[in-house]
């Protein structure tokens, strides 16, 4: 179990994190979700021990590791750009964490080699052990980085934007594969992402961060359906903000025969399994996005229609930030 307690961090005058509290159970898959500058990567690096907090504590299984350097925390860290050792073969990269151990803790050479082979199989790169990182594709490098981190049998796996540098298709495949691997190996993992779709798809719980604070911690369902703040509502999924303060998801708007709110339709296109209607509120010109079931007939461009909210949310002043 990982417990983060009142973590505060500044870079010079720039406050990166304000009093972060977080508890993670063994076996959980956690996403730190937020825009750039939200402090998510800093938090991940503090948990790893790559960065040190100004205030607060980090506990691993009840033990205070706040002052323990990264090498002794036994965490696996997958870097955004993979940070592979380019002059070493893939197998040597993977074995690195074992070969740098002190002689008395170091497994025999043959065993290290076997472990590297085993991990190559786990990350589905069998037969590529003799290649160099420069000879691999982005997705393959990513998996080497993961295997290298797993080789030390970490008690916690940390991933910084693990899919950031990959193209869409590879990203999707790797996501599913990583989730399976997490389950199979019984890992406890935290990953940082700015991609809400990724966070909702992968994580058991999502930690939504903004400006160095946690806005909400919850299951993907909770974060999407019951956003705690206006920020979460807009960052996770799409939300229309109407002039009267209501926040409405595009799929929570319906077109009705008669209504107070009238929308001029600017554009209609197909988006996945539904129609996306873009328009402007008649009175204020506020842009509104509406999703309509693909079996229904969408309004025509130029038409003015009345809308009603099936479900809307109003945030208090404290929840507005």
């Amino acid at each position: 179990m990982i417990r983060v307690e009142n973590i505060t961090k500044r870079f010079g005058n720039y406050p990166a994190l304000h009093g972060i509290d977080l508890e993670i159970q063994a076996g959980e898959f956690i996403a730190l979700l937020g825009p750039s500058g939200s402090g998510k990567t800093t938090l991940l690096r503090i948990i790893a021990g790559l960065e040190f907090q100004d205030e607060g504590h980090v506990h691993f299984n009840g033990e205070d590791v706040s002052d323990i350097p990264v090498g002794k925390r036994n965490v696996g860290f997958v870097f955004q750009q993979y940070a592979l050792f380019r002059h070493m073969t893939v197998a040597d990269n993977i074995a690195f964490g074992l070969t740098v151990r002190k002689a008395r803790n170091r497994p025999p050479k043959a065993e290290i080699k076997a472990r590297a082979q085993e991990l190559l199989r786990v990350v589905q790169l069998e037969g590529l052990g003799d290649r160099y990182p420069g000879q691999l594709s982005g997705g393959q490098r990513q998996r080497v980085a993961l295997a290298r981190a797993l080789a030390i049998e970490p008690s916690l796996l940390l991933l910084d934007e693990p899919f950031g540098a990959l193209d869409a298709k590879v990203r999707k495949d790797l996501r599913r594969w990583l989730r399976d691997l997490h389950k199979q190996m019984g890992l406890t993992s935290i990953f940082v992402t700015h991609d809400q779709e990724e966070a909702l798809e992968l994580a058991d719980r999502v930690v939504v961060m903004d400006h160095g604070r946690i806005d909400q911690i919850g299951t993907p369902e909770q974060v999407y359906m019951e956003p705690a703040t206006a920020f979460v509502s807009h960052f996770v999924g799409e939300t229309n903000r109407l002039p009267d303060g209501r926040h409405i998801r595009p799929h929570d708007i319906e077109i009705v025969a008669e209504g107070r709110d009238r929308v001029m339709v600017d554009n209609v296109f197909r988006k996945g399994g539904s129609w996306r209607v873009e328009g402007r509120l008649h009175e204020t010109g506020t842009i509104v996005e509406i999703d309509i079931d693909s079996h229904d007939t969408p309004p025509a461009v130029g038409e003015t229609v009345a809308i009603a909210a099936k479900r809307a949310r109003i945030f208090s002043a404290a929840e507005q930030r």
Binding site: L84, F96, V100
Partner: protein, 283 residues
């Protein structure tokens, strides 16, 4: 319908970058003017003197000793520079300290300083009566007028080559690679030996080769500190000048020819090793 255009077969790979013909032509013309034509004059000149005469001068006892001295001291100096140049580059890249820019500028000074000035200054320092020499002399260490002195001069001349080759690569080396090593449990020494050093080795190699090449051809700074005793501290470039002063142009050409071939062989080998390495890394 299959395309009817047939590509003209050329010996270069097709490229979207325009102007290959023009730029290649210019490069070749320039290289010819500056390097190839003067060097080919060497060949022509030495070809005219006949094989026996060439061997007599080019491989005389005196010349062989001079080659050994020139290449030996250049090699030793390049090694010293590889070690300390790396250290200087490391300090310049990795730490922030007051006066860093001044030190960085000082590194380039051997490039700018007339080599004779360097030679005279070093001789004054290391002569048995000099500032440093007076302490070394009682210990039985003679620097000036020995091969050690020549090496010292070449170290001075070659330092910037290593520093400036290694510096950008060291600066470019991602922090994340070192952090990765740290997360995997490697200590500082292990990280340096197994992660950082191998990464900068190619640049260090280049700096070494440049310092070596410069050392082999160095003349100005060496002639003062070496003492120029034939068969003892006479370097090959000096031997060439000596031949010229005696109007023995053929002899000078023969010695120059041998030096050039050896230097080219060494540099070509170093480059070949480099490119094999690069290809292996798939970069």
């Amino acid at each position: 319908m299959p395309s009817m255009t047939t590509r003209k077969t050329t010996w270069r790979a097709p490229s979207v970058l325009p102007g290959f013909g023009l730029t290649f032509g210019f490069s070749l013309a320039w290289l010819s003017l500056i390097v190839l034509i003067p060097l080919s004059m060497l060949f022509i000149k030495s070809a005219g003197m006949g094989w026996q005469a060439f061997v007599d001068v080019g491989f005389s006892e005196r010349a062989l000793t001079a080659y050994r001295l020139s290449f030996g001291t250049a090699l030793a100096a390049a090694f010293v520079n590889a070690v300390f140049g790396l250290l200087v580059a490391w300090v310049l890249v990795r730490y922030a300290f007051p006066g860093k820019r001044v030190i960085s500028a000082l590194v380039d000074l051997p490039f700018a300083l007339p080599t004779a000035v360097a030679g005279i200054a070093l001789t004054a320092l290391y002569a048995p009566s000099g500032w440093v020499g007076q302490y070394l002399d009682p210990l039985g260490i003679k620097v000036a007028f020995t091969p050690i002195g020549i090496t010292v001069a070449l170290v001075f001349i070659g330092l910037p080559f290593v520093v400036r080759s290694v510096e950008p690569v060291l600066a470019d080396l991602g922090k994340d690679v070192e952090e990765a090593a740290a997360t995997l449990g490697a200590g500082r020494a292990q990280t340096f030996a197994r992660v950082i050093f191998p990464a900068i080795l190619p640049a260090l190699f280049t700096g070494f080769a440049l310092a070596f090449a410069r050392g082999v051809g160095e003349y100005g700074s060496v002639i003062f500190i070496s003492g120029n005793m034939p068969g003892k501290t006479e370097i090959a470039p000096l031997l060439i000048v000596t031949q010229l002063e005696q109007y023995n142009y053929d002899g000078a050409t023969a010695i120059a020819m041998v030096m050039m071939l050896v230097s080219f062989a060494v540099l070509f080998t170093l480059n070949a090793v480099q490119s094999i390495r690069r290809r292996r890394l798939g970069a």
